[in-house]
Amino acid sequence: MEDVRIKVEGMTCQHCQMRVHDTIAALDGVTMVNVDIEAGEVVVSYDSSMIDIEEIKQAVRDADYQVVEEEETCPVPTLDGVKLMTEGIASKPVEAEAKDEAPRPKTAQSPPPKTELFPPGRTGKTTISVTGMTCASCVQNIEKGLGTLPGVIKAVVNLTTEKAVVEYDPAQVGPEQFTKTITDLGYGVVGESVTLHITGMTCASCVQNIERGLGKLDGVLKVSVNLTTEKGTVEFDPGRITVQDIIKAVTDIGYGAEEIKGVDVDREREAREKEILSQKRNLILALILAVPVSVGEMGQNIAPLVNAIPGIMGFLGNDYFQFIFATLVMLLPGRQFFTGAYKGLKHGATDMNLLIAAGTGSAYLISTASVFLDLGAGFEHKYFGTAVMLIAFIVLGRYLEANSRGKTSEAIKKLMGLQARTARIVVDKTEREVPIEDVKPGDIVVVRPGEKLPVDGTVIEGRSALDESMLTGESIPVEKNVGDEVIGATINKTGSFKYRATRVGADTALAQIIKLVEDAQTSKAPIQRIADIVAGHFIVTVMSIALVAFFYWYFIGFERLDIETNYGIASPFLAALLIAITVLVIACPCAVGLATPIAVMVGTGKGAENGILIKGGEALETAQKLDTIVFDKTGTLTRGEPQLTDVVPAGGVSEDTVLMLAAVAEKGSEHPLGEAIVKGAAARGIDIPNGQDFNAIAGHGVQVTYEGSRVLLGTRKFMTDNGMDPAPLNNSMEAMENDGKTAMLIAKDNEIMGVIAVADTLKEHSAEAVEYLQEMGITTVMITGDNRLTAEAIARQVGIDRVLAEVLPQDKAAEVKKLQAEGAKVAMVGDGINDAPALMQADIGIALGSGTDVAMESAQIVLIKDDLRDVVSSIELSKRTMGKIKQGLFWAFAYNTAGIPLALGVFGPYLIAPALAALFMAMSSVSVTANALLLKRFKLKRQEAV
């Protein structure tokens, strides 16, 4: 018996996983198969006397998957030169300090085994806005459709954001095929839009020329050129034409054109609003037409209610009237279900449209047949009312759902709304108000009190306090002086100031946050994949159940329950048909497909509103499982710069004198300890005179002459070497050192004047955050390169459980790995480049927004505020979101679990009407969505408490 691990390419979903599994398992001699889709690996145990490895590999190849020979497999990406970005595709060089650790990124987007074929940087990735998806089956259909295209590495479709993210090999496939595949499957694709700055236009004819010229191009969907603003907006199909082609076409006509880059979600919002409007129209139409038909069908049952209008029942109950109105419902609001089902079925794709079309179509057809044909006894009753009310209720569900989905993206909308529309820049020494798109890096921007900052930049003149709460959640305004960085979209509270624009358009912090949140909301939580698979298989299962139910009720149930007597339905066909229709309608799994993405959207959006950027569903799901949090010390728990902490005078001199002498000795020093002393003295208002003959003795201290006296500042040994006895101050020094501080003796003319200490101090909320985490039962660990004494002193102050001291930067990831090997689910919190490997190694990397770009790219959670309490908030948010996901899935499955037996008539004589089933089904989606939206009301308590 042998075990072998085979690398397999091309597995994109659970279907692939099952297919590969089943293919290998079917081989004689194979005893065990384990397929890991994430790793792209298959572990096979087989009897080598019956089968050899090549036969197994061939079977995989025959199943249309590629086997990667060992030498072809891609090396695990390392930080040694090249670091994989969080997206797992793009790569860029990183000045990584760590050289010997090679942690493997553990996001869902971990590089697939195809990396050899699609090396980083050469793969393409495109996001397509898809319309017309209604349930998880649609997601499955599109993912499956795209996944079968050659060259597609991965296709992820999100029902809630209505986006498909496709990772592909541009040499084999492109967006054109994606668009075609999606539209062939019966869904819509929203074209891309580009805004151009067009120069050289002088009159309305120019506008006409450009619009006509661009309008003729293949792939251009819509052109709108504005002479006054010198802008043109072109909507196009990216599969058929590129922005470069459009720009070239404009220049060929004789005008200048360049792309204006910036954040634009108007198109998507328009598409969403269009969908809501369309469903609203459908709903109104369906209700107007369905109510009279339904009233007519109910006939004498509700006659007392409508007797006020003589003859009305006769009119409404007329077969031809019912037929005409029902036909209108089928052709107008109901058409979407039939066209959707047809398009899907053409490709073997099944979705909720099929269930609705089958259910309503059957009721409509049998009723129509009984109007025009003599079907005999039992067929007098028509079911037009049932068919139209089904349509009306389902359209109601779709309308409510479209509205709810719009609400989930409010976080993005809010972020978008923060952006200023115009900026006041200095041009030729005069201030000019220009559209924000016209601001370029290097422009001087003028901001007055109460105004919103248009772009990111650096203050060059003036000072003010800025309200950054919209990005960080921090309500206290932040002081800004010359040299400080400012962020676009924040509000200037007090003074006027000028700043130089550094990042504009899509490069601003706000634009990047929006992009990050959008990406996160498009990603899938692992739990969602399970839900998608279940929902994907559900439709066919339900159709089969309906068929079995039809057989049962036709041949057995009709007689056994005496339907004719109990329900007045004389035809066994009609009785069985109604039950089959009810099964089809009640079992629609749309709530199952909605539960996870809506909660992920709301959760990540809620985080973004509070300065917590969670990069996707997987991070959200993992964060709630954490049991150990490792904090980097310097810059994370502490401020990262030493501060003056103690001044202990000796020999009757004052504290200020001791500090003044120390400051004189360190004045002009660039050493962090020296700077801390000088800053400390200045903060106490001490005037610091200049010394002479400055002399630094490496590793010992400094010597300076002040007013003719020799002033020394340094270690015990430095003093001893200069003939002084530091023993009287030893106790004070040791106490300071035990607290992790750096203590220094100050002496004047061979007489020790006192001790001063500096230390890297804790950030304001570090201890509080650690305390909260411990209350949550999470083990806290501090990792630092400092010596154990200093490290333990800091750990004591902050209340940390465990200290990993004297750890070299390149060993941090290894330490995290050791903790993981102990069985811990570890989060690493850090801010520096040297933290990046550990951030990637950890189950969750949490980077502080004040840290380096590398750290933020390596992390799955970024805290915009420099506040460690947000670590607590992110875990709480993760728990809440996962709670909502689980509740949603539970209720969604519960609806179907309860609904199907009810529809099948398992509960004896209590049969449910098809229209009621439709209402039941519509409400399941709406209630699951509404429950997820409750997450928006969740308060991040840890912050509020303070």
Partner: protein, 71 residues
């Protein structure tokens, strides 16, 4: 072209399946109709059509996956 061929194959297999299930229903229903007055000829015909359609739809959804696996 390839898609059209695949669809034609799927349709063929689905039709055969549907006909088989439909025939089963027809035979059983005809037997029932002969025995019980409540089961009319119309019930049998309409039931067969419904079963045919439903089985065809199920076939169209199931067969592509089956054929793909066999390929």
């Amino acid at each position: 072209m390839i898609m059209a061929v695949q669809f034609a194959r799927t349709l063929g297999f689905s039709s055969v399946t549907a006909l088989a299930v439909g025939a089963l229903f027809y035979v059983l229903s005809a037997g029932k109709s002969a025995a019980l007055a409540a089961y009319t000829v119309n019930d049998t015909y309409l039931g067969t059509v419904f079963v045919l359609l439903l089985a065809l739809i199920i076939g169209l959804a199931v067969w592509p996956g089956v054929l793909e696996k066999k390929r």
